[in-house]
């Protein structure tokens, strides 16, 4: 693993950003953006997750490329699961049957 020791400043910065994003996402939920409510909520969640993974979990600093491969392939497989399920659910009722 990385011997890299990250300055505490970075950690606090990330922490503050995460707190802000949490408050923002909760607040935005009360504003009517139509479809975009979901999109905004999920984008913020993804941003937060990224911050945690990259900095708190040191993925940004690690020189082990396999850690990244593990994360990326898990996400890829998750997308497979969701996307291919949607070929069914997205088309239910379309066409015959």
């Amino acid at each position: 693993m990385s011997e890299h020791i990250i300055p505490t400043r970075t950690y606090y910065l990330i922490w503050i950003s995460l707190m802000c994003l949490t408050v923002i996402t909760a607040a935005v939920a009360f504003v009517d953006l139509g479809q975009f409510n979901t999109i905004v909520a999920l984008s913020i969640a993804t941003l937060k997750a990224l911050l945690v993974v990259l900095f708190f979990m040191h993925l940004k600093y690690t020189n082990e490329k396999m850690s990244k491969v593990a994360v990326i392939s898990a996400l890829f497989w998750l997308v497979l699961l969701l996307a291919l399920s949607l070929t069914d659910y997205g088309w239910r009722g379309a066409g015959a049957v």
Binding site: W77, L84, T87, D88, W91, R92, G93, A94, G95, V97
Partner: protein, 544 residues
């Protein structure tokens, strides 16, 4: 197993320590492999026993031997035992456990204690499942389809579900151990393109175990919750979708069929070059085909649901993708065949099983193409055609591969030679019995006999009788190896370090190997299957 005959002069993994606790607390991957060997053999015979009862019941059209409920439990428990407690752990947990570190020149798996933990998880799961069998059993089919399993069956679904759930973690940990070991523990010089194909196929298998099994785990857990606490995720009376269960189940269980076949393919890729005395044809293609199968195998799951009420377009997509996964399998079959071209072929038992594997896997795989064709699947799904298809692959393919491997590495595992004549005879019996059992089922399926039928229509009887007859032959074929393996542990000829003159690293250490596999960490400077530079073995002498 501690009764294994010992050669007192040399210390190896079998005689290093004695006593029950030296086995139950061992972290030596080879001893754990033997623990697995004993346990999966046990479950194989349980599953086989159920299979024989199934076949006996089906001897006559009327449901006369057992009650309908009993029959339903029989095939459920047959399927679940065979799949979850025998075939999925079979090659990976026994041969893989024994060989993966040795083949890459490592002293052990990366996490020996986790390896032991995974055996214990398997045993806990096995005990729960046995308890389930003994106290009433479960009757929902190995597929656990909702809402039958979640709301209607009044058998021990929760117990079975929990057992499979725990067993899943055993499988995950095995896969995790393999991937880490293969990445981190290779001996100097053991580059990725020098890895034996057995390792490649276990790597591919582990990917599936890691990324597929958790989905099965959570799905079964949701079913358990649905039964136990009234959660309603798959419940149609609450607007839930029973097909969602099927999607999640097959997301694991289709790739799982490749968990069952890939390791066998790995064995065949070792055996065929060794007994042809040739480098494998198209090493890189065979290796990458394993990975391709593992990845593409995740894209085809809903071909089990063509008539389930899925959308038309999803059916089209999944049918198309199913054909893609067949291509790498084809590549493998052709490469094995090509490897034999201009070889120097001997007919030792492992090679006979390998022949059987290639032939029967091809037939099973080709009938998979029938099933993937939408128009045909509508007719033959849920009939004996499907039963025949998968037994061809799983019994004719995977189990034969397993037997090939057991015979091939038995000298390494036990330090003894099995009786070659008996070995060949058993291989022949298995082959004949197998085809007699399952070929008639293809016909039966197309004529229209549905599966999971306790009683059936008169006109299906002749074929069923043939099948039942075959299964008794098959039983003999499976009992034989069991007997002579046990026999050979005491009376077999002592094996050399490398009785087959094979090239793998595992053959460069003693038989049986010392506890840390190698006295000195080997340095690899040659390609896999370097048979050109390997002398021919002494012609195997028949048993005394």
């Amino acid at each position: 197993m501690s009764s294994v005959a010992i050669t007192p002069e040399r210390e190896h993994y079998l005689n290093k320590e004695y006593g029950i606790s030296s086995w139950l607390l061992t972290t030596d991957h080879k001893r754990i492999a033997l623990l697995y060997l004993v346990s999966i053999t046990f479950f194989f015979f349980i599953g086989g026993f159920f299979a024989l009862l199934i076949r006996l019941e089906l001897l006559t059209p009327a449901g006369d031997l057992v009650q309908a409920d009993t029959y339903n439990k029989l095939f459920t428990m047959h399927g679940q035992t065979m799949i979850f407690f025998f075939l999925i752990p079979s090659i990976p947990a026994v041969l893989g456990n024994f060989l993966v570190p040795m083949m890459i020149g490592a002293k052990d798996l990366a996490f020996p204690r986790i390896n032991l933990l995974s055996w214990y998880l398997y045993i806990i799961a096995g005990i729960i499942y046995l308890h389930c069998i003994l106290t009433g059993g479960v009757d929902v089919g190995w597929t656990f389809y909702t809402p039958l399993s979640s709301g209607f069956s009044n058998t021990k679904v929760i117990e079975a579900g929990v057992a499979v759930f725990i067993n899943g973690f055993s499988s995950i940990l095995t896969g995790l151990n393999f991937v880490v070991t293969i990445h981190r523990m290779r001996a100097p010089g053991m580059t990725w393109s020098r890895l034996p194909l057995f390792i490649w196929s276990h790597y591919a298998t582990s990917i599936i175990m890691l990324l597929g099994t958790p989905v099965l785990a959570i799905t079964l857990l949701l079913v358990v919750f649905e039964r136990a606490f009234g959660l309603g995720i798959f419940d149609p009376t609450r607007g839930g979708d029973p097909l969602l269960f099927q999607h999640l189940f097959w997301f694991y269980s289709h790739p799982a069929v490749y968990i069952m076949i890939l390791p066998s393919m790995g064995v065949i890729s070792e055996v065929v070059p060794c007994f042809s005395r040739k480098r494998i044809f198209g090493y890189h293609f065979v290796a990458l085909a394993s990975i391709a199968i593992a990845v593409i195998g995740f894209l085809v799951w809903a071909h089990h649901m063509f008539v389930a009420g899925m959308s038309l377009y999803a059916a089209l997509i999944f049918s198309l993708l199913s054909y893609l996964v067949a291509v790498p399998s084809a590549i493998k079959v052709f490469n094995w065949t090509a490897t034999m071209y201009k070889g120097s072929i001997s007919f030792s038992t492992p090679m006979l099983y390998a022949f059987g594997f290639i032939g029967l896997f091809t037939m099973g795989g080709l009938t998979g193409l029938f099933l993937a064709a939408l128009g045909i699947d509508v007719h033959v799904t849920d009939t004996y055609f499907v039963i025949a298809h998968f037994h061809y692959i799983m019994v004719g393919g995977a189990v034969m591969g397993y037997l090939a491997g057991m015979h091939f590495w038995w000298p390494k595992i036990s330090g003894r030679i099995y009786p070659e004549g008996w070995g060949r005879l058993a291989a022949l019996i298995v082959f004949i019995g197998f085809n007699l059992t399952f070929f008639p089922q293809f016909v039966l399926g197309y004529v229209g006999m549905p599966r999971r039928y306790w009683q059936y229509s008169q006109e299906f009887q002749v074929l069923n009788v043939l099948s039942t007859a075959g299964s008794t032959v098959l039983a003999v074929g499976y009992l034989l190896p069991m007997v002579y393996f046990l026999w050979s542990m005491r009376y077999g000829k002592l094996a050399d370090d490398n009785p087959w003159n094979a090239t793998g690293l595992e053959w460069r250490t003693a038989s049986p190997p010392p506890t840390y596999n190698f006295d000195e960490t080997p340095v690899v400077t040659w390609e896999a299957y370097d048979y050109e530079n390997m002398p021919l073995p002494q012609e195997v002498t028949l048993e005394r």
